[in-house]
Symmetry: C2
Subunit: 212 residues, 2 copies
């Protein structure tokens, strides 16, 4: 049996509404982080649950929500709370949409929250998908030849090996050092692995159709 | 004599055009990274120079540009090239606009390029300003009481001390660990220092007026 499709929605403003709606409609379980519920309800999409500290939830919208999990912990982001809730609900993997946009501190903090996920996590981006990749984990991605693939090291990554790409990246990639931006898939699969570190594999995708 | 106001413009789409124009008009020296020149010329703003690998520069726009510095190095980003050029021109500090938007891999890679700047660098964001902060450097920022301030550790930061904020952050902040999001200035100055690491101090600002 395929695992359930868990979709978490953040309050970023930059994902086109029709793309967000398509992802929401194709999910089995929809979790909104705090103010993301405002955005969803205004698009007539009702999340299964809303999690967060509720500091940006519109009171009128609060009244129509089926379930609210309130948490005021100042040390974790709304994205951390959303991930923890999904995992507690049995999510074996998680897809997160609407990370981009709004305040840049939120965008960076949510990206770092995604890195801390205990289950495989990917991001629905305006122009593609992002996969969180950790050390000692062989990550494979289906591609079309010529598709643009970037790997951004979010901590120092050692012994990086990519297959199926036009340019082999440097063996050590890091936030302060080398990066691997706008590489190209040569065939139908790209893989990446490394022995230490964490990062995000981002694949550019023109189609906005959800894929699970 | 105050140092010259160097402004670098990237090709991100998310900074409102009027805000971008105001910053460009108040700069002494305006450098566009590659495709950012398309965006500027379409707004009738002529940069002093365009740097980058020119893979996204519109040929019609190329014809009207005063000066182009072409560099095809695949190992550095357009943002790296822009910073290196500004420093070679004598920039003692650099302000970068239009980092947000477009492709998320570009946004993250440009953020990491900003971290590598050999001169003090700040980012003009949709909702404020971002200051790159390195270890062993006391960074001060003028604030209004209540102003929202976040510090995002981009590498592991040790012995972090902030003054002038409502909540003292954890002493160690890192991309995979604790963060300091949505803190609040208590008075007219916030400072931050740490002994190892690098990060971005982001201050929310409602005014879109340039400040240098």
């Amino acid at each position: 049996m395929a695992s359930r499709r868990f979709l978490g929605v953040l309050a970023g403003q930059d994902l086109p509404p029709d793309v967000l709606a398509a992802w929401c409609q194709s999910a089995d379980f929809l979790i909104a982080a705090d103010g993301a519920a405002n955005m969803l309800i205004r698009q007539d999409i009702v999340p299964d649950v809303v999690v967060g500290d509720m500091d940006s939830l519109d009171p009128n919208i609060r009244a129509v929500l089926p379930k609210i999990i309130e948490s005021e912990d100042q040390l974790t982001t709304d994205c951390d709370k959303l991930i923890a809730f999904a995992v507690a609900q049995g999510a074996e993997s998680l897809t997160i949409a609407a990370l981009e946009g709004d305040r840049f501190d939120h965008v960076l903090a949510a990206t770092q929250s995604a890195l801390r996920s205990p289950v495989p996590l990917r991001l629905v981006l305006r122009h593609g998908l992002g996969l969180i990749v950790h050390a000692r984990q062989l990550t494979k991605l289906e591609t079309n030849p010529g598709q643009i693939v970037s790997f951004i090291a979010m901590t120092e990554c050692h012994n990086v090996v990519m297959t199926g790409v036009r340019w082999q990246p440097e063996p050590t990639l890091s936030p302060l050092g080398a990066t691997s931006i706008s590489n190209e898939a040569e065939g139908e699969e790209v893989s990446i692995q490394f022995t230490e570190g964490a990062g995000i594999l981002i694949v550019k995708r023109d189609s906005t159709e959800p894929i699970w």
